[in-house]
Structure formats: C-alpha cells, structure tokens
C-alpha cells in the first residue's frame, strides 16, 4: 500500500510540476497577477509530494518490503537500519528520486526566500525550475520507477546494498553532491529569466549570487567527501584518480567557480553580462551532462549504474531540451543583455576575466579528455583508447599554477582601474617573500632540491601572504586593527577564507604527492617495518562477526620513536548476501600526517600482505575544501543579501526608500 502511495505522490508531483511550468509563465505574458502568484503554492505542493514520495520509499526500505523491485535489489534484511535508510539512494531509481526531491527543495527554497523578488521575475524563475522537475519526473515514472513491484514471486530477502556503499561517507556524499549539481539549476533559471526579460542588472546578479554560492559550497563538500571516501574505502590510499565520474562532478565545480567570480563583476561593474549568463547555463548543463554520463552507462566505473540504452535515450532527449534550447535562446537573446561600463587593463575586472578564461579552458581540457575515448571510437571506428591521469595533470596543473598567480593580483586589485604603482607597492614584497620562503623552508626541512615542492610552497605562500598584506592595508587607516577587521564585510571574509582554502589544498596535494611513503609488505605476526620515526608491527589477524558480514580483522601496533603510540585495525570483510569482499582500511588521521593500514591477501602461515602508508599533510586536502565551502557560506551571510533589495529602479512593484541599508549601516 505504501509503495502505491509513493507512486501516486510522484504522479501528483508531476501534475503540479506541469502546472508550475505552464501557469506562471502564461501569467507573465498575459500579465495575469493571479497566475503568477500561483507559482509559490505550486512550488510548495511539488515539494510536499516529492517529500512524501521519498518518505514512502524510505518506509519500504525500513519495512524490508522486498516486493518492491528496487528495495529487493538494494537492501537486505540483515542490513543495519541506517544503511537501510541510505540504501534509498544506493541505486539508480532511488538516487534519481533524491535528485528530483532536491530540485523541488531548491524550487521551494527560492519561493520562500525571494520575498524581495518582483513577482514577474519569480514566476519565470520558478516556471523554469518546474520544467526541470517535469523532465526528470517523466524520466523517472516511465523508465526508472523506484516503486515498481515484483508481482510474481517476490524474493524472501534482498540482494543487499553494494558493500562499497555501506559506509558513512556514502551516507552524505550523494546528497551533498546532488545538492550542488541541482543547486546550479537556480542560477540556470535566473539566467533563462534574464534572457527572456532581456533585463540583467546589478540586482539580478545580487539575487543570483547567494544561490550560486550555496550550490557551489554543497558541490565542494560533495566532491571532497567523494574523494575522502575513495581514499579510505577503495583501499589504495589514493584520493583523486581523474576517473570519468570524478571529472563530471569536477567540471560543473570549475565552471561554477568561474560563475561566482563573473557574477561578482556583473554585480559590481555591470560588465561580462552575457558571459555570466552563458556560465550559469554551462554550470547546470555540465551537471546534467554528468548525470547523463553516469546514468546512461556510457562509461563504466565504480559509480556507473546498470546499462540501459532506453534510459540513455530519454536522458539525451532531456539534455537536448534543457541544454540545447537554452543555448539556442542564448544565441538569439544574448545581444540584449550587453554590458555598458568600461574597464582598463589593470582593473580587477580584467584579472577576473583571466581567472574565468583559465577555469573555462581547464574545464574544456577535462571535458575533451573525458569524452576523447568516445570521440576516437566514433571517428576511427576502432578500438578503445584511454586517457589517463598524465594527460589531465599535464593540462590542469600549469593552468592552476597560473590561476593562483592571478588570484592574489585579482583579489588585491581594485575595480575599474588599479594603478600599476599600487599593485607594485602591495605585491612586490609579497612576491619576493613567497619565492624566498618557498625555496628556503622546504630546503631547510628536507635538505633536498625539489622544484615542484618549491613551486607549490611558493604559490601557497603567495596566496597566504597576499591575504595578510591585503588585510593589513585595508585595516591600516581604521584606528585599531580590531575595528579595522570589524569594518570588513562578510563577503570579503568569505572570499579570503575560500582563497586560503585553495592555498591549503595546494600544500596538501603537493606535500602528500611527493612525500608519501607506501609499502606493501608480507608480514608474519610479530614482524614489522619502519617508516620514518614510526614502526608498524603486524600482530596477526582474527575472525570477527559484523551484522551482515564476516571479517578478517588485522591488528597493527604503531610505535613512535620506539614508544607505543596507537593501534590500527584494518579489515577485510566478506558480505553474506553477495559474497563480495571489501577492504576496510584503518587510518589514523592527523593534522600533519595520516597513518594508513590495509589488509591485502593472506600469504600462508598467518602471514598477510599488509599495505602501510605514511601520508604527510593529506588531511589538508579536505581541510582546504572545507575552508572553500566555508568561504562560500560566509559570503552568503553578507548583510546585503538579507536586506530588502531596493536597488532595482525599473520595477515599481517594490517598496523603495532610495538607500541600500547595508551601505549606510542602518539595518
């Protein structure tokens, strides 16, 4: 009964989504206030029925209702209850349901938090988001219904959730990632609205910015969690593989980063308007492309869902409608939203344009690398070709190094025009200090010449010292240092936090790539190996029983400088339902190093192959990502997004007192 209720809610949600995509838009062109006003309750209704539907599927999982095909293939009665819940998004159909629930949630959030938006704009934005919901609800109901029943002979027990997904990281990774992917639909809807109205001003950019920041922050966390999960769950100790599925999440992130910066220029200076619109369309399009690539089975990987050409065709049709139509609309309407202001060669606008170009070129390089095997096969008709990490590193790393050089110059420069003398005065010392320290500090610690390390440390210092220099000069004339700090806006702190995150990531990636020690050794109980000041002693393996698996649990005691330090317990699990074997590494996470132990194969007489890694500064990769996301969140909290927007002069609907309270300080 409950699955039928869930199915019925989906149908109702589809009906409401159809109404949402049609009625308010009709209202806009008929100038019918009532139809436009309907956009809010329709968004709320769509959200409620999606939530109900999601709740029904979750209930079917918790209730072990194996007559539902999706539950039967993604759960098992022995599964711990929290994994039964997360099993809801453990496969294609359920994760699609989560995906659409999130579209509905963003739609509802826009309708809630946009009280200051003119009604005609709001109606268009919500309508566009309604169209997205319609597309994916149709896709779900006709090709991937999670509530399909197994009418004949429902199995007594389910086949189990993929053991790789039975893990905390996977409880939170997909929701965060989808929140990011889907969150870009808000910026997309605003962009389509701008093209439709031909009106793109500072107020438009100000409405769009917090939504974009939020989506970007979610995506940052989602990607970081995915990388963290790969690091400890796949058992290789690697954290980024340039796997196609990683690339498809990374591309919208890069374009989203470009969009955040381009929106800043559009808000402050009124230029790059049509470029901003194109980036907003591109960010969401790349999210959809990622969804398509992973769900159509176009590429095989750990993430890929079952191959089904029919699903692929429907998804491709959705891509054509959503991306193709919006890019076509862009081609027709972009001249209407042209910028007017001017800027000079050393302005912040120009440096941010360079930032945008670098980010977009990196994205294009990654897109080409990801699709190249497909293109090669289509053109030559010949065997597969593979593009590996060396290609991506060759393309990506130099571009990022350049990006960092411009990052500090851009954030220290001023709008419209920055004198070269000012830039020199601000940055010459910073540049000298970061180059000198970048060479001296690693040399003093390691006593070896390692150019990539010098470069990475210098670039990270270039960011960090640049931030310090900028804060110093911005607080210099404000009485005390503290009152100077208080006078800076949250947007400013958000920006600098995110930039600091970038510096931390650079250090993490480079130090861990160059100084990690990885040993795969055959160890009998009592034997050990020494790495640096640590000694790892293998104590043996014993059988332990988990709720739905049996495991060989190893014990590795670690000594530091000869003293007992800690114990690592890596496991090798065999899951009952599927018989699949899963490596669970044990990691001691530290601020400056991770100690990593994983079990390989047994080698007779109680001996095992044990994988021991010492990974310096690897934690900084995720720390940096969280700083970046935190920066995005801090920027959203800036007062100017919260006060009633009064800058939009051409819409008389809005109450206006003529002054932006955030500028006068009288909130």
């Amino acid at each position: 009964m409950i699955p039928e209720l869930g199915n019925f809610s989906l149908v109702l949600a589809l009906s409401l989504a159809v109404l949402l995509s049609v009625l308010p838009m009709v209202g806009v062109y008929r100038n019918n206030q009532l139809l436009m006003t309907l956009s809010r309750p329709l968004s709320a209704g769509l959200w409620v029925f999606m939530l109900l539907s999601f709740g029904c599927l979750a209930y079917a999982f918790l209730d072990d209702d194996f007559s539902v095909r999706y539950v039967a293939s993604n759960s098992n009665s022995l599964l711990p209850v929290y994994y039964k819940f997360t099993g809801v998004w453990g496969g294609h159909e359920g994760s699609l349901l989560l995906w659409v629930l999130m579209v509905a949630s963003w739609t509802y959030a826009v309708s809630l938090f946009s009280r200051n938006l003119p009604l005609d704009i709001l109606a268009r934005v919500l309508s566009v988001m309604g169209i997205i919901s319609v597309c994916f609800l149709v896709f779900m109901l006709f090709t991937s219904n999670p509530f399909d029943r197994l009418m004949l002979n429902p199995p007594a027990d389910g086949t189990d959730l993929n053991p790789l997904l039975q893990d905390f990281g996977l409880i939170v990774h997909p929701p965060m990632l989808y929140m990011g992917y889907v969150g870009f639909s808000v910026a997309y809807a605003f962009a389509i609205t701008a093209l439709l109205t031909g009106n793109l001003d500072a107020a438009w950019a100000r409405w769009t910015r917090p939504w974009t920041n939020a989506a970007w922050a979610f995506l940052t966390i989602g990607i970081a969690l995915g990388s963290w999960w790969a690091y400890y769950e796949l058992g290789w100790g690697g954290w980024w593989f340039w796997d196609p599925t990683e690339n498809v999440a990374f591309m919208p992130w890069l374009v989203g980063t470009a969009l955040i910066h381009s929106l800043a220029v559009t808000e402050k200076r009124g230029v790059f308007k049509s470029w901003t619109v194109l980036l907003a369309i591109a960010a969401f399009s790349l999210s959809l492309l990622g969804t398509f690539i992973i769900r159509s089975g176009l590429i095989t990987s750990v993430h890929a869902f079952a191959v089904d050409p029919e699903r692929g065709l429907v998804l491709l049709a959705i891509l054509l409608v959503v991306i193709g139509a919006s890019l076509f609309l862009y081609a027709l309407r972009a001249p209407v939203v042209k910028g007017t202001a001017s800027y000079t060669i050393t302005s912040r606008e120009l440096f941010l344009l360079v930032n945008n170009i670098l980010l977009v070129v990196s994205t294009a390089g990654i897109l080409l690398g990801t699709l190249y095997p497909l293109i090669h096969e289509a053109v030559t008709g010949d065997a597969n070709v593979s593009v590996g990490a060396p290609y991506f590193n060759t393309i990506f790393l130099p571009l990022m190094a350049l990006l960092v050089v411009f990052l500090t110059i851009g954030s220290i420069s001023r709008w419209k025009k920055t004198s070269v003398a000012y830039l020199k005065q601000q940055l010459v010392k910073v540049a000298i200090a970061s180059i000198l320290l970048g060479i001296v500090v690693p040399l003093a610690i390691t006593q070896e010449v390692n150019v990539p390390i010098f470069l990475a440390v210098a670039l990270a210092l270039w960011i960090i010292l640049g931030i310090a220099r900028d804060i110093q000069s911005k607080t210099a004339n404000k009485g005390s240092f503290i009152s100077g700090l208080k006078s800076l806006s949250l947007s400013y702190y958000g920006m600098q936090t995110a930039h600091l995150g970038m510096a931390v990531i650079i250090l993490g990636i480079c130090l861990t790539s160059h100084y990690s020690v990885e040993r795969d050794v055959r160890l009998a109980p009592g034997q050990g190996i020494e790495i640096g000041s640590y000694e790892f002693i293998f104590q043996g393996v014993e059988r332990v029983q988990g709720p739905n698996y049996q495991a060989d649990a190893g014990e590795v005691t670690v000594l530091k400088n000869g003293d007992p330090y800690l114990t690592l317990r890596p496991e090798k699990r065999t899951y009952f339902a599927t018989g699949s074997v899963q490596t669970e590494a044990d990691i001691d996470v530290g601020f400056t190093r991770d100690l990593f132990a994983a079990l390989g194969d047994p080698r007779g007489e109680d001996a095992w192959v044990v994988r021991i890694h010492l990974k310096p500064f690897v934690f900084w990769i995720w720390l940096g990502a969280f700083l970046m996301a935190g920066g995005g969140v801090i920027a959203i909290c800036d007062r100017r997004y919260r006060v009633r927007d009064t800058a939009r002069k051409d819409v008389p609907v809005q109450a206006t007192d003529g002054l932006d309270p955030s500028l006068t300080g009288a909130a």
């Binding site: 593989f241 399009s285 159509s296 597969n384 990490a389 795969d520």
Partner: protein, 177 residues
C-alpha cells in the same frame, strides 16, 4: 566573423557533443574484452624502458607464454597488483613477464621499479600510445595472457590478485602447459 553568428558557437558545440553521446549509447563497453581474445597479439616494435637495451619486437617472444601487463607508476591499482606480480614472477618460471609502461615519464617508471622491485623480464615503453590502441586498452592496469603461438587467451581489466589469478589464469595455463 559576424558577432551574431559567434553566439551560436556554444549551441553548435553542444549539438556536436550530443551526436557523439548518441553514438556512445549505441555501443556496449563490456563487449570490448572478448573482441581481442583468440586473436594474435598485435605486432609491435617498441623501445625498451631502459634506453641502453634498444628495442623489442613482438616476434622476439614467439614460442613463449607471455603475461603482458600495461601499467604506469601514476596508477594506484597498478601499485596494488605490483607485489603480487613480484611474487608470481619468482614462482612461474615458464612465463615471460612483459611490462608495458603506459606513461609520459619513463624516469618515474624506472624509479618505481628500482625502488620496489621489477617483476618484468622485459620492459617496453609505449610512448606514442600506438601499442595501447592496437591492444584496445581502456586504462591501466590491464593484463593479457598470450600462448606460445602468440594468441591472446585472456584479457583482464583491473588489478590482479591471488583470487583473480587462481580463478582466471591458472585454468588457462593448465591447458597450454
């Protein structure tokens, strides 16, 4: 170019890409492995990973059982299977191990082998990727089992451990020994 025309570039790029995606839907990536089995190992002449050792040709290896492994020092699963290769290269005396470096940096590969041990009897480098294309390699690591007549018996995608070896390779080896 006309400015209005330029604005159509994004949609044009997208449509071309959509064409490739449509093509991609029509193929099944899982059919690739079987296509090479029971066909001869493609002929090749490639330089050694160690420049002083010159070049190797596929003809040099006829009459021997070959285990051809495509790997790279940048590839984590290759690190994973490396200790196992070290081990079986000791015990499986009648198999000739050929490592094909899938890499842009031969220096790092040489360092890797020097540091962790070299399981391969011959190290070939595939700088221009032509051998990978001939073999239809989808990524690293991949391993081909070739019999004395130069025919490919089995292709394995992904890392090899004791289980894979015992399940897939040992039965085939029993047949040809």
């Amino acid at each position: 170019m006309n400015k209005r025309v330029k604005l159509f570039i994004p949609v044009a790029i997208f449509l071309v890409m959509a064409g490739f995606l449509l093509y991609g839907l029509g193929r099944d990536p899982n059919t690739v492995p079987s296509a090479l089995v029971d066909r001869p190992l493609p002929e090749f002449t490639q330089p050694s990973l160690y420049p002083e050792q010159g070049e190797y040709s596929s003809g040099d290896f006829l009459g021997r059982i070959l285990l051809v492994n495509i790997w790279g020092s940048w590839c984590p699963p290759c690190h994973l299977e490396h200790p196992f290769f070290l081990e079986i290269s000791e015990t499986e005396d009648d198999i000739t191990f050929i490592g094909i470096s899938y890499d842009y940096s031969t220096i790092e590969d040489r360092e890797f082998l020097a540091e962790r041990g070299n399981p391969f009897d011959y190290n070939v480098v595939d700088l221009d990727g032509s051998l990978r294309i001939d073999l239809g390699v989808t990524g690293a690591p991949e391993t081909f089992l070739v019999d004395q007549q130069g025919m490919i018996l089995y292709r394995h995608i992904g890392a090899i451990d004791a289980d894979v070896w015992n399940d897939k390779f040992v039965p085939l080896l029993r047949q040809i020994r």
